[in-house]
Symmetry: C2
DNA sequence: GTCTATAGCCAGATAGAC
DNA sequence: GTCTATCTGGCTATAGAC
């Protein structure tokens, strides 16, 4: 890794601050309701300065999504290092992690419907590469878990993968939490359990 | 039911056409991306005319949501009439119905996040009444299904209810369908099965 | 690279004739 | 109630001084 000049380090810190702010706002309001003015205000710089770092609002959001995928890969590596854990247990840990992130207000969400952002993401090579990597890693665990009988082998692997991905934007945890009867930890447990149970063999 | 004058009938038909168009657009693009101009274009009248029928964009969406809840109640009645069916089977039929509606592009979705629409819906008495009715009817079946051992009695009834509601905006069916490997009917079966299996007792 | 100020656009809502 | 035309505000993006 090349040594960074002071100037470059400052730039890097500033960019990280921007992406972190975008991450929070995406988690809170979603892409359409997030305004670039808010991002600038949260970072504490002028809007015009933002546009020196990122060419568009879509690019801002894409950077936040790339950061999420990088964090996801890091967590996958962490799970892969737990040699005592079965593939199914690792997948369960992924679900738990996603739900925890979501309840903490740190899970950025992208509109799965039509949007200017969809197009930009599908053209963003770095994003697609990371998404592929994550899918491959999780896909391998799914196959292993099915062979071990911990996940129903008659279910298409796609279905299992998408079911896990979908926990990142599941509305159930937030509604359960809003009900006030459960702690965050309890919500995570309940949702994780119903998710995984839905994927296990019939008996 | 009072006899309607011709004038009132025309009004009624026009309003139904508007709400149907809003329903489609909400299902297709969601509230934020739906524009009032599009609604007007789809109905075939001028935007200003729309505002003679509904005072705001939020009111338009609320009307579509009320219509959805009315259709839901009608389907609940239909299921209640199936005397051979168990409560769990009725709940499963509800899930199947919601998924079918969603895949057909007829399921309007409301942003569960912050939005001007949330506030308006929570102040809309007719909407809240209907929502309560639906929840009560489904809640009764859930309790019965738990007593019968078809749904895990250790799960909070809230969790079960929200899990069923969430199928209406589940992103998994659309993604599975986009993959092209499954027919709509297969998608409905796969998602319904994993949903219900997640709620059944451990063994 | 940072700021202030503003251009340009688009969508929700309204005026007023018919 | 329907239309055409317009207002209004907010948002993305940029110009231009420093």
């Amino acid at each position: 890794m090349a040594r960074l000049s002071f100037r470059e380090q400052v730039l890097r810190v500033r960019q990280d601050a921007i992406v972190a702010a975008v991450n929070r706002l995406l988690a809170d309001k979603g892409f359409d309701l997030m305004t670039v003015d808010e991002v600038a205000a949260e970072v504490g710089i002028a809007k015009a300065s933002l546009y020196k770092h990122f060419p568009s609002k879509e690019a801002l959001a894409a950077a936040a999504m790339v950061r999420l995928l990088e964090r996801t890969l890091a967590f996958i590596d962490q799970q892969a290092a737990r040699q005592e854990a079965t593939p199914a247990q690792r997948l369960e840990a992924m679900v738990r992690w996603a739900l925890t992130l979501q309840l903490a207000g740190e899970m950025p969400t992208v509109p799965s419907q039509n949007s200017s952002l969809r197009a930009e993401l599908m053209a963003h090579q770095g994003y697609l590469d990371l998404l592929m990597q994550v899918s491959d890693r999780l896909g391998a665990w799914i196959t292993e878990a099915q062979a071990a009988g911990d996940i129903d082998a008659t279910l298409p692997a796609e279905l299992v993968l998408y079911n896990i991905y979908a926990r990142a934007c599941d509305p159930v945890p937030a509604v359960l939490k809003a009900g006030g009867r459960f702690s965050d930890a309890e919500v995570v447990e309940l949702v994780t359990e119903t998710c995984m149970r839905g994927l296990r063999p019939r008996r």
